[in-house]
Every structure is written in C-alpha cells, then in structure tokens.
C-alpha cells in the first residue's frame, strides 16, 4: 500500500544535469482528438521499463473540442500522487499553449507544434519544435486518419528525447490495438517517424530521462472504477441498478463487461445477474432496496447528485434495516458544478444522510487495491449489519490509471448475514421476531420472501420488535436504541485505520482516500527538507475505531488533511471522538478540483507549525 521508503537509488538522480525517473510529462490537447491511446502507450512503456508511474487525465465537462491535459508522472521512489510542477510539456493545443508554457518553472522542456512558435514566449525553457503536420503527412496517406495518428508522433519524439525503448512502446501499443494489423502498422510508422525526426532534428538539452528499474515487476495498471467493478464481480453481486453519471459511469459499465464475460451460465447461456439502467437515482436505489429485501446482493453506483436524490431511500433502508451497497465516486458540488473535477466533499452528507436520526457506515478506499477489497467488504458489512454501506471513492481514484500490486483472491467466503432458515427458526422455537435483538449486537434476524420462513411487514420506524405496526413511544425508543447499538457493532467490524507511528514524531497526520498518496510523499518531504518527523493514521472507514482516539491523544497537533473546503472529516472527528482531544485537530485543506499534491500538504503543515 504505502510507497516504498527504502531503496531510493541516489546515484540515479545524482548528477544535476541528468534527472532520471523523477519527472512529470504533460500532454496538453483537446478532448475527442484521440490522444488517449498515445498517452496510455507512453504511460505503459515507462511502466514496462520498471519505473513507477501514474497517469491523470484532466478533462472538461463536454465531449469534444475543449482543452484536456494528460499528466504522466514517473518516480523512482514510487510516488504516484499528483506532482504540482510539470517538467516536460507536450503542447498540442493552440488554445492553451501560451498559458501552459508560461506556467512552467525555468529549465523545463516543451515539445510543441512548430507553427505555434512557442519558443518566442520564454528564453528559460528548452524548446523542441516539431512540424507534426509535415511528419504525419508522410506516414499517413488518409487525411481523415491524420488527426489521430499525429498523437503517436509525439510518443515517438518523447521516446527519443527521454530514451524510452521503442520496443516497449510497440508492446504497449499492441495491447491497445490488439489484433488490428493495419492500425498497428500505421501507428508504428508514426512512432518511428517521430523518433527519427527527433534523432535527426532535435538536440537533447533537457535533463530528463527514463532508465530501466525493477520497481513495477508483477504490478498492474488499472482505474479505481474498474478495480471496484472487479470487487463487485468477486463479491457475487446479483442485482445492479444504476443511472449514468460522471465520474461513476465507468464502474457499472466495467461491471457489465465483467459480468457478461464471467457470470453467464456456461450450460444455459443465461445470466446469474440482473443489471438495470434505471430512470434515475431514486429508482436505482429503490430497486437495490427491493432486491436486497428479497435476498439479492444488490448495489448502485453514483456521484454526489445521486446521493442527494437517494437520501429518502437511504433513511428508509437505515430504519427498515435493509442492506444496500452504494458507491459514491465523489466530484465537486453541486449538480451543475464541475462534474469532471475531484473532491472528498460528500463525507458529512453520506455519514448523516437522510432526515431524522441516522448514521451510516462509510468505507473509504485509497488505492485501486482497496477499491477491489472494500467492494467485497461493503457487501459483507451491508448484509451483516442490514444497513446501507457507502463506498466513498472519488474521480481521481475512480477514473485515473493507478499502479498496484496484483489483487489477491478473497479467501473468506461471502457473509450473507443473519438470514432466517429452518434450523435457525428451530432455535427461536416459535419466538422469532424480525426486530428482536437476540444476539445483543443490535442486529436482528430477517426472513426472506419466497423461502417459506415466517413473513413480516416491512415499514420504517413505526413497528415493535415483532414488526407489528406500533406508534407506542416505548417501541420507538427501543427501536432507535437498538439501531444505535447496531452502529456500535459496526464500529467493531469496519476496516481498521492504517497507523504509522514514528517514535520521534512531534505531530500526527490523519488522512483518507486518495489524499493518502500526497501525504505519504509529503511526510518524506517534511522529514528530509524540514526535519519534521510525523506519525500518520489513515482512516479507512466510519464509524471510527478506538485507535483513532489513541492516535490523536499522542500528539499536541494532529493535521487532518482532506480534499474539501469545510474540513468535513475533521468535523466528523470532533463529533465522534473524545472531545478532550478536539483542540489537537487542525485542518489542511485542498479543494480546487485537482487531485491534492504533496507540496500543498507539506506547505500547509509547515505554515501552521511555524506559527506553532
């Protein structure tokens, strides 16, 4: 999980004139121009050379023609969070080229489309003009294909300038194009033409290069949404109801792909699952609630706006005690906000979702691996606790490409929770009641329709523990107290935080989700550049477990780092942890819609440490 702190090869980045495997490449283009293939080939080829990478796509909320930036970070220490500075710019978009160039730090490199004449803008950068149209015309006769092929040319240029093996690019390319010989040939030609042009016309004047390493052996590249979909596949999900929304759509859509491939009964050709594109998010969650109520493993996936619309059903499911797995791939608010920008802004709304007294279980993956694992946890917890469980991912994790060790096959069987069967009914010897707390954990036993078990009538909170209609004050209180007890049980079942205690740490850091990557890197920066040693607790779930209190108590100042404006997790901590420690908690916030970066974290902490 955490970035390997050991084995940083100093010799590599030693000479100032050469910066090896530690830089970021940004491709500035417009969406719909087909640059995605070229960008993935670039990402993969570096990855295949054993160098840790990450790829982040910053795209607009439209379909084609607006500025898009794809950023690849290569880092020999394994940092895969966002890096603020761009080291190597590939400026393909006339509209943004000027701003893109002006925002670079001195000494950085720029590959650009010759006619843009960007070299006139600054003298402190390394410029590589490339006549893309001329080169593409030579390799591609079909005019209408040129727009696409053009992109492979910059891959060729970069291969030469950063000394990336063409063989690796070819390998990566064939993964994309698979068995399309014609397309392969055309693109390879473009790659080679680009490399050739660079070799003959450009003289390397920037310090950046890629060198073989062994840091990615056996690792994979995947987006969080695909990883979560895989988790659902292996969780044995049977009913999926969803409504399209960015950045969630690719989760159910990946899942559809996996299910069609692996969940069709070999003999009959029939599906062991039902996936429905509902008319909206209210209906989607309604279907999930209905399906869970009659015994399916059911889920939905959405983003903030969907969570807002689902609030009423979430409250019903909490009180009627019905499982429901809800993925929230967070984006910034509100509905006509920036659907293609990332945030951790739904923490409080999800934890307290719906009117009346409610508290919900949240699982918060930080990595693609956790997207896979927590998807399975979510179903087990939701059925065990008979309550909705939110998986709070975000756009950065869900839609961007992350490096990870391979996922491990779940050894523990599915936990379908307390479902009444003949044997259990025996034990009750006639005294079964839907909402009786027989195990003193707040979790009652439920019966499923169509199983010949005793039936009951499902309502919100207006029932006694036999599930009979009741408006009696004492029944209502009993009900609410048991639900509170059940939440205490949840506290013992949710994934524990990951804690890194440094003996000589003066301060603590708390973070969660994708913020983790920036924090990991920032902790190294703080130690190495400011001599500030930090301990670190990464939250993975709500409700909080006791170790959180213990951690906070150990430090005078605990910085809660998160990607929202209001310090939402800090608020939740103030609400739910020892009030005596409330004073220790401080916020470091990042909420401009871009993934948080290490420098912002380090600076945010140092600024407050200075003033003490």
């Amino acid at each position: 999980m955490s970035a390997p702190l050991s084995a940083t090869e100093p010799q590599l980045s030693a000479s100032p004139s050469r910066i090896v495997n530690d830089f970021s490449i940004q491709v500035a283009t417009v969406n719909g121009s087909g640059s995605q293939t070229a960008n993935l080939v670039l990402l993969r080829s570096i990855f295949q050379m054993g160098v840790p990478v990450s790829g982040k796509n910053l795209f607009p909320s439209n379909i084609a023609g607006l500025p898009t930036w794809y950023t690849i970070r290569a880092n020999h220490r394994g940092y895969i969070g966002r890096k603020k500075e761009i080291d190597f710019l590939i400026a393909m978009n006339a509209e943004t080229a000027k701003d893109d160039v002006m925002s670079l730090e001195p000494g950085r490199a720029v590959v650009y489309d010759e006619p843009l004449k960007l070299d006139a803008l600054r003298t402190d950068l390394v410029f590589y003009p490339v006549p893309f149209d001329k080169i593409v015309a030579e390799v591609c006769s079909e005019a209408k294909l040129r727009r696409l092929v053009k992109n492979m040319i910059y891959d060729g240029i970069v291969a030469e300038l950063l000394s990336i093996d063409l063989a690796e690019m070819e390998k990566a390319l064939s993964r994309q194009l698979g068995k399309k010989p014609k397309a392969m040939a055309l693109n390879m030609a473009a790659l080679e033409a680009g490399k050739k042009y660079a070799a003959e016309q450009l003289t390397k004047r920037d310090p950046y290069t890629v060198a073989h390493m062994d840091k990615t052996a056996g690792q994979i590249l995947i987006e969080g949404n695909a990883a979560a979909a895989m988790g659902c596949l292996f969780a044995g999900v049977t009913v999926v109801a969803w409504y399209p929304i960015t950045p969630s759509s690719s989760l159910p859509e990946s899942l559809i792909g996996y299910m069609r491939k692996y969940r069709i009964d070999k003999t009959t050709g029939q599906a062991t699952f039902a996936i429905v594109q509902a008319e909206d998010e209210i209906a989607a969650l309604g279907m999930v609630v209905g399906a869970s109520w009659s015994g399916a493993r059911a889920m939905t996936s959405t983003s903030g706006p969907g969570i807002s619309l689902m609030a009423e059903f979430v409250g019903l499911a909490y009180y009627a005690e019905i499982p429901a797995v809800i993925f929230d791939i967070q984006r910034v608010g509100p509905s006509t906000g920036l659907p293609t920008r990332t945030a951790q802004g739904d923490i409080l709304f999800a934890a307290l979702n719906s009117h009346g007294d409610t508290r919900h279980v949240l699982l918060i993956p930080a990595s693609v691996e956790e997207c896979f694992e927590m998807s399975m946890d979510a179903f087990d917890l939701s059925e065990r606790l008979q309550t909705p469980v939110f998986v709070l991912s975000d756009l950065d994790l869900g839609m961007n490409t992350w490096m990870s060790q391979t996922f491990t096959y779940p050894e523990k069987p599915l936990d379908r929770g307390k479902v009444l069967d003949a044997a259990k009914l025996q034990e009750f010897s006639g005294a079964w009641g839907r909402y009786k707390d027989v195990d003193a954990d707040g979790i009652p036993w439920r019966s499923l329709p169509g199983t010949n078990m005793p039936a009951f009538f499902t309502r919100g909170s207006g029932h006694n523990d036999m599930a009979l209609y009741s408006e009696r004050p004492d029944d209502y209180v009993k009900n609410l107290d048991r639900l509170a007890r059940k939440f205490e049980t949840a506290r013992t079942l949710v994934p524990k935080p990951i804690v890194r205690i440094e003996p000589d740490a003066k301060i603590g850091i708390i973070a969660y989700g994708t913020t983790h990557w920036a924090v990991e890197e920032a902790r190294d920066q703080l130690r190495e550049e400011a001599g500030l040693v930090t301990s670190y607790l990464r939250l993975r779930a709500y409700p909080f477990t006791p170790v959180v209190d213990e951690f906070i108590r150990q430090y005078d100042r605990v910085y809660v780092v998160e990607q929202n404006r209001d310090g939402q997790m800090l608020s939740l901590l103030r609400m739910d942890t020892d009030p005596a420690s409330g004073v220790r908690l401080r916020s470091v916030l990042h909420y401009n819609g871009l993934p948080i970066d290490a420098k912002s974290v380090a600076d945010g902490i140092l600024a407050q440490e200075k003033v003490g």
């Binding site: 056996g218 690792q219 994979i220 590249l221 995947i222 895989m230 596949l233 292996f234 969780a235 044995g236 049977t238 009913v239 109801a241 692996y262 969940r263 009964d265 009959t268 029939q270 599906a271 062991t272 699952f273 039902a274 429905v276 509902a278 008319e279 909206d280 209210i282 209906a283 989607a284 969650l285 309604g286 279907m287 999930v288 609630v289 209905g290 399906a291 869970s292 109520w293 009659s294 015994g295 399916a296 059911a298 009423e312 059903f313 391979t406 996922f407 096959y409 779940p410 069987p413 599915l414 019966s447 499923l448 329709p449 169509g450 010949n452 039936a455 009951f456 009538f457 499902t458 209609y469």
Partner: protein
C-alpha cells in the same frame, strides 16, 4: 353496472387452504372506504385462484391505499415503502427472486403525482407485477387535497374547484406499453374479481385503476369520484368472465359478441362486448374508448387492453431459472483462475 355477488367461495381451494390464509390484519381505514372493498376482492381472487401466499409479496408506497397491503394476505411478506416509489422496490424484489408473485398497491397521488415517473418506467419493462391504483381523486391520508386524477371542475369538500385536467392513468399505461390494462370500480364486485384473477393469470405487468371513493373527503355532491357519481357514470365495456386453467370447463359462446383471450397460463378470459367498437387487442381502439367516454364524463370499466404473450422483463434479461437470491457462492463468485486471467490483462 353489474352488481350480482361473486360465486360463494368453496371451503378450501386447490392448494387446500381456506380463505383465512388469505386474510390480513384488521383495517385501520375509514368504514366504507373503497379501499377496503378492494382488499376483500384481492383476498377472494388469490384464494379462488389458489395462489400460495408464501410466494406472494405485497408492496406499496404511502397513503391510505398504500396501507391496505397490511389488510390482506398476512402470510405474505409486505413492504410499505416510500411515497411514489413502489414500482422500483417491486422491480428490485422481483429481479432478486423471479419465483415471487408481486402485487403492488398505490394511490392516485402516490402514482399520479410524486410517483408518475416510476409508474411510467415500470409500464415499459413488463415485469410480472400486479399494479393496482386505488383511485379516489384525492390525497386521503393528508386530508383530501386534489390528486392528478381529480376531474376538471370536480368540487372538494370545502367547495374549492379543481382547475387542472385529470390524468388518465390507463391511457398512459397503454401508451407506454403495459401488456394488461383494466379499469374497475371498488363497488363492482364481480367485475373487479374477474379483472384481478386475469391479472394473477397474466404474465407481465397488469395495470389496474380501481375507482375507489374516499368516503371521508371525496364522497359529496360535486365530486366526480363519489359513490353516487361513479355508480351513475360507470360504463362497463362488457361482461367479463374468467375461467382459470385448472377449471377446464369448455364454455360455448357466440363468437360474434364474445371474445375469448387465452392467457399465458392457460386460463381463459371471456369478454362479452356491450360496445362493438372496442377491441382489447388494439391500443388505438382502447384509447379511443377512453377518450370518448371521458369526454362524456363517464368511466369506461373492464378490460381495456390485453397482450397475453408479450415478452416479460425476465426473458429480456435472460435470467437463470433459479432465483438470483438463492444462487450459491459457487455460482456468483468466479474462481481464482478468473482473477488471474484478469490480472494478466493488466500487467
């Protein structure tokens, strides 16, 4: 309209249950509420059809009407969900277990107002759901405000006149592709019972709008949903008789005046027409009847449209035969080999 009582039910039905296995808890609705009469017909229909109550699920939204699932079929699981969302909950419940038989009860507010979106989309899916709207033209549980099915010009108890056109849920259901659409009246025992039995026999979505007067808030002069008004303006499309598959009585009838519809389960629906110009197999003719009777301020009741063999949503989704809810882990969690294969593609 027809008022002769239904044939007295036998002591026990074909699965040797007596009628008490089909009853519900004591109603908490007003004495005389149309909804209570509908609950009684539901009890009769399921009893006489010999449906195993353990196979049935009862769902509803919120309203007086939506309370009624508690007043029939006690041995069945029931779900009083949220306002206007019965269709989505029923959809999910059926997808999880295709062996279940679902009856959803809603109101004209629950379906016509807040729930119209889920109504519209459930009609398109043709899931085996008996969707009943207990239609009183008002919001009973919130004390009598007009609902979207209130007729233009109909008067509320406080004298206020409804100023919006009534929405005809049956016309919409037909337009949207429901495979069985009927309208009835809580006061017409015989017709309602036959319609309900047809719905039980039908594969696919049955939409039934049952006019069901609210005696407390909408049963006065000036209301077009009062018992008196509905009795006077009920226009039955024909005599309906239903012959279940397990009673293979061969009835002879004059082809001209009577149509026989073979249901998917082998039951027969016999329609003796009173009006010639209505063909329950033709959407346009059903819509025409609805528009014309509506223009005359009448309610056309009976079977409006039926398409017995339309593909249902389970077929569309090509589901395995077993309920998804009962599939063992071995069939829902792929093997280690699958994970390895997937990982390979990502290396």
């Amino acid at each position: 309209m027809s008022t002769d009582a239904p044939a007295p039910p036998k002591k026990t039905n074909r699965i040797s249950l007596d009628v008490s296995s089909y009853r519900g808890s004591k109603t908490t609705l007003c004495a005389g509420c149309g909804h209570n009469a509908i609950s009684e017909r539901i009890v009769d229909a399921f009893f006489e059809m010999g449906v195993d109550p353990k196979r049935v699920i009862k769902l509803s939204g919120i309203g007086c009407s939506s309370k009624s699932p508690a007043y029939f079929l006690n041995p069945s699981h029931g779900f009083n969900s949220v306002h206007g969302r019965m269709p989505s909950v029923a959809t999910g419940a059926l997808l999880a277990n295709k062996d279940l038989m679902a009856i959803g009860v809603s109101g004209d507010g629950d379906t016509g107002a807040i729930g119209i979106g889920q109504f519209v989309h459930s009609m398109r899916r043709n899931l085996p759901l008996i969707y009943i709207v207990e239609d009183n033209g008002c919001y009973g549980l919130t004390k009598g405000q007009f609902s979207p099915t209130a007729d233009l010009g109909s008067k509320a108890k406080n004298g206020v006149v409804n100023e919006l056109p009534a929405m005809d849920l049956c016309a919409l259901a037909i337009e949207l592709g429901a495979s069985f659409v009927a309208r009835s009246f809580s006061g017409d025992k015989k017709q309602l019972l036959a319609v309900l039995k047809t719905a039980i026999a039908h594969r696919g979505t049955s939409f039934i709008d049952v006019i069901s007067p609210c005696v407390t808030f909408n049963d006065h002069d000036g209301s077009t949903k009062s018992y008196a008004y509905v009795k006077d303006h009920d226009e039955p499309l024909g005599e309906i008789s239903f012959i279940p598959f397990f009673e293979d009585i061969s009835v002879d009838y004059e082809p001209g005046s009577t149509t026989s519809v073979k249901m998917h389960d082998g039951s027969h629906l016999m329609l003796r027409k009173l009006t010639d110009d209505h063909n329950p197999a033709d959407k346009m003719s059903a819509l025409r009847v609805l528009h014309e009777t509506a223009r005359r301020g009448e309610f056309a009741t009976g079977v409006l449209y039926i398409e017995p063999d339309k593909e249902d949503f389970f077929q569309t989704l090509n589901l395995v035969n077993e309920p998804l809810s009962s599939l063992p882990q071995a069939r829902t969690r792929p093997t280690q080999a699958v994970l390895d294969e997937l990982m390979e593609t990502l290396r």
